[in-house]
């Protein structure tokens, strides 16, 4: 019985080690840019948890917003859903991925008076 407990505890620990970073995005260092194919600039530096701690962001919907008839809706958060799903790289008549990223990041930095504004501050 004791052996079973030890194995169960070990499995649980291993599972946590694997799952926690995935849930907390602690290992995220840059904005995912795979959708762009061969991007010309380096991926924008972005440490998810550190950023949100500094920016005092608890509400996922602030960035992972939902859709309200073509307008961003922060009230229906969509964490875990890749941005490119609603914002394809070539979104004719909608907001394409690059514009969505730039407006989301720079727009908020502009409005809040904090955070990087120029190309070289994120694309290092």
């Amino acid at each position: 019985m004791r052996r079973v407990n030890v194995v169960a505890a070990a499995l649980l620990l291993a599972g946590l080690v694997w799952a926690l970073p995935a849930l907390s995005q602690e290992d995220m260092k840059t904005v995912p840019n795979a959708a762009f194919g061969t991007p010309q600039r380096s991926a924008a530096v972005f440490q998810h948890d550190l950023h949100n701690e500094k920016a005092k962001l608890d509400d996922c919907g602030a960035c992972h917003h939902g859709d309200d008839g073509g307008k961003p809706d922060p009230a229906s958060p969509t964490p875990g859903q890749p941005c490119a799903e609603c914002h394809p790289v070539d979104a004719k008549g909608k907001t394409p991925l690059m514009r969505a990223f730039h407006r989301q990041c720079v727009g908020c930095h502009h409005d809040s008076g904090k955070g990087p504004l120029t190309c070289g501050e994120c694309h290092t």
């Binding site: 010309q40 720079v106 990087p116 120029t118």
Partner: protein
Amino acid sequence: MRELYEFAVGPMAWAAFGVFLIGSVIRLISMYSLARKKDGPFLSYMSWRFGLRSILNWLIPFNAQGWKENPLVCVTTFVFHLGLILVPLFLLGHVVLWDQYWGFSYPTLPEQAADIFTIAVIVACLVFAWRRATNRTLRFVTTGQDWLVLLIAFLPFLTGFLASQHVGPPLVMTTLHVLSGELMLMAIPFTRLSHMIFGLFSRAYMGSEFGGVRHAKDW
């Protein structure tokens, strides 16, 4: 610095484009009325055919006599103007701003090509400066404004290149870049940089007179 950057990409950008566009229109109208007053008859021999013929012939490297006699000036001038037009309009970092603020975009230069054109413009400016300083004939006709406009054209490319290569603090370098670009835009209508708006008309005027009146080439 943050406030200065926000000012440069906000109200100052509107002012710079406004001064450039409205200033250019005013300069074109006033130059046209001055030309009519001082040399009215030129309107009768202005010709699309001779005008465009002259423009086209001067646009071919080593075609005009002036280009043949000065190969260095020919190469430098073509490279300089090509970069001066292509890089500001088709640089990725510039089109991204149209996209971000206005929601439209268009094809851009590959970053490497933009780097090469930018370095070429910087080198061309140095060649121009070296000629102005060392060529006796050129020195005789050079005024302070010639140095000033060379500096005004040089600065946006130097600061833009440094910012793109991450030399110095990005916010400071980008702010200097935006401000120097705006200085250049505003200087275009009111300095010798106005050949950007008058150049083709001057060439067409010369071509029309040489073609239609003197029956000679002007290239």
